[in-house]
């Protein structure tokens, strides 16, 4: 058959397209009902957090003295109001946005540190690997939440610091996972080929090792985001996180807990939002794990 001939073109068109690892994984993921539900819920949450503030006729910080302690559906407040007459729906949407943003940004911080640390340790091996992993082990055995609390006390309650502090805590597990993967990748032929082609260690790590770590890293990222959201809310609950008038799910739950005798809706709606968000992430994470690592079921 001549290349470029009509017969060959027809044959190529009818040929079965190969399925890549990612095609397979996507197929398995989409068959997983819990994971798909999680993704849909999360998509709705993100859209609500982004466009929501324009849908609600109130600003999250507008104090309406006449509308204090309104229950849900009273005088135009879908989810009621708090002790200052601020609309809970508006505050909830703003808080959801802040919590999601902190989750994504802090996870990115931990992602960068963890992946680089683990890949370098695993790739270089030997004494350097031992020292780097011993540092991780040591940090693991520290009462970390206390250091985060100290950090917040020391440098003031700055939202960027929350990103940094939580991200700096969450990278440890990531670096362990990445190191393990790197160790097994290191002996593969394509790495040897890259080395034979004269690439430096840094180039090999960035161009060949890191892209091949994607699977386990993606799984762990979906499980880190909810952990970060919990950590931020925990700090906010203790009064060390996001500062008023800004809201996060944690601050809303904290004020809701204070006022729950008077206005239970202030506790119930933020708690519900938090739980649904966290469950969505967990279902997606579990689904991704099953999809990308089918032998582990």
């Amino acid at each position: 058959m001549i290349p470029g001939s009509p017969e060959r073109a027809a044959l190529l068109q009818n040929a079965v397209r190969g399925r890549s690892l990612w095609d397979d994984a996507a197929r398995r993921l989409l068959r997983n009902k819990a994971a798909v539900t999680g993704m849909v819920v999360l998509a709705v949450m993100v859209v609500l957090a982004v466009v929501g503030p324009w849908l609600v006729p109130y600003h999250y910080d507008t104090v309406t003295k006449t509308d204090v302690w309104m229950g849900p559906l009273q005088s135009g407040h879908l989810l009621g109001t708090d002790s200052l007459g601020r609309d809970l729906a508006a505050r909830l949407l703003a808080g959801l946005g802040v919590s999601l943003a902190i989750g994504v940004v802090a996870t990115s911080v931990s992602l960068v540190i963890g992946v680089l640390w683990g890949a370098v340790a695993g790739y270089l091996g030997g004494r350097i690997d031992e020292i780097m992993m011993r540092i991780v082990d040591t940090l693991y055995s520290l009462p970390f939440i206390f250091f985060v609390i100290l950090l917040m006390v020391t440098f003031g309650r700055n939202i960027f610091l929350i990103f940094l502090a939580i991200g700096a805590v969450e990278w440890l597990t990531m670096s362990r996972i990445v190191r393990g993967q790197t160790l097994s990748l290191k002996s593969k032929e394509f790495i040897e080929a890259a080395r034979a082609a004269g690439l430096s260690s840094g180039q090999i790590i960035i161009r060949h090792i890191v892209p091949n770590l994607l699977g386990p890293v993606v799984i762990y990222v979906t499980l880190t985001i909810p952990a970060v959201i919990i950590a931020e809310s925990f700090l906010s609950f203790l009064g060390l996180g996001v500062q008023p008038p800004m809201a996060s799910l944690g601050t809303l739950i904290a004020t809701g807990a204070q006022d729950m005798e008077m206005a239970p809706w202030l506790l119930v709606f933020p708690s519900l939002t938090m739980v649904v968000t966290l469950m969505a992430f967990n279902f997606i994470g579990d689904g991704l794990r099953d999809a990308l690592d089918p032998k582990d079921r």
């Binding site: 040591t138 055995s141 520290l142 009462p143 970390f144 939440i145 206390f146 250091f147 609390i149 100290l150 950090l151 006390v153 020391t154 440098f155 003031g156 909810p226 919990i230 809310s233 925990f234 609950f237 203790l238 060390l240 944690g250 739950i253 904290a254 809701g256 807990a257 729950m260 005798e261 239970p264 506790l267 119930v268 708690s271 938090m274 739980v275 966290l278 469950m279 967990n282 279902f283």
Partner: protein
């Protein structure tokens, strides 16, 4: 075993030193001082107070002095609670935290293991889905959500239990805090037990035991469970850390006079010595529990050799 213990203790000392160093300098870098809060002290008085606590010295000298004190078990005086040493404060408050942590760990282990075994034996059936569903909920609902919600329902609305307070450790006052602390642990433990059981039940020696005609209950209890709970042993360390974090929230919400409540307050009030004391206590606790977990692991599983 003894050599292993010795080596681990040798590693633990620099770890502890690191904890103390970082905490010490971070605390001192914080703006504010323990003596400026309430009344405005005149400069002379403030100077005198600073000198009394040795805080007029260079920071490094203070650090060395502090380390010397800690080495002989002297954690210094509290800067906020006059006439009390850090040790006295720790001694007066550790019981609440210990009771809460110990009881909730015990409860979590019993319930979590039972649920895990049931789920594994009924794999992919209703009981399995039900327990694992509950477990996912347990992982997803943080303590600062369960605590106020349970208080709202069982204390405020139904009035069955007190809303807060310690009341000398009366059972009614303990139920809610312990439940709140135990729930996330139950979730993790039941998942670990289930995974372990499923793996073990498929192994060859279980098939041998079945072929011998042993009753199923005996196989589960004597043969399978012993191997299946191995992952739980290494979970001991992280579980302790989780309980410590949880106790910060629980002691605040239920207004319990434990260490966790003290920690946050002392950090905010710049009570340097008390904060340092707590950090050291918690770090030692986590180090010791991790050590115990490693040793237990070796004792239960003869395949693991400590080296």
């Amino acid at each position: 075993m003894l050599r292993f213990l010795f080596r681990r203790l040798l590693v633990a000392i620099p770890t502890l030193l690191l904890v103390i160093t970082v905490a010490f300098f971070m605390m001192r870098a914080a703006p504010g001082s323990p003596f400026v809060n309430e009344r405005q002290l005149s400069p002379e008085v403030e100077k005198a107070v600073m000198a009394q606590f040795g805080m007029d010295r260079p920071l490094v000298e203070q650090y060395v002095n502090y380390l010397k004190g800690v080495a002989v078990g002297d954690f210094g005086p509290s800067l906020k609670y006059r006439d009390k040493t850090v040790l006295e404060i720790l001694q007066a408050n550790y019981k609440v935290s210990l009771t809460l942590g110990g009881l909730s760990m015990l409860l979590a282990a019993m319930i979590g293991m039972s649920l895990g075994v049931i789920a594994a034996l009924r794999q992919n059936r209703v009981a399995d889905y039900l327990t694992m569903g509950i477990a996912i909920l347990g992982v997803c609902i943080p303590t600062f959500v369960t605590a106020p919600l349970l208080v709202l329902v069982f204390a405020s609305k139904l009035g069955w239990l007190p809303t807060a307070g310690w009341n000398d450790g009366a059972l009614a006052n303990l139920i809610l805090p312990i439940t709140v602390l135990a729930l996330p642990q139950i979730a993790v433990i039941s998942r670990l037990t289930r995974a372990g059981m499923i793996e073990v039940l498929g192994s060859n020696y279980i098939r041998t035991a079945r072929a011998k005609g042993l009753p199923e209950s005996l196989i589960v209890r004597k043969h399978a469970l012993r191997a299946a709970i191995m992952p739980l042993v290494s979970y001991l360390g992280p579980a302790a850390a989780g309980l410590l974090t949880g106790s910060l929230v629980v002691e605040k919400i239920f207004n319990l006079p434990g260490l966790g409540k003290f920690f946050v307050n002392s950090a905010l009030q710049r009570d340097y010595t008390v904060v340092m004391g707590m950090v050291i206590v918690y770090a030692v606790l986590i180090l010791v529990l991790n050590l115990i977990a490693d040793m237990l692991y070796a004792a239960l599983d003869p395949r693991v050799r400590l080296s």
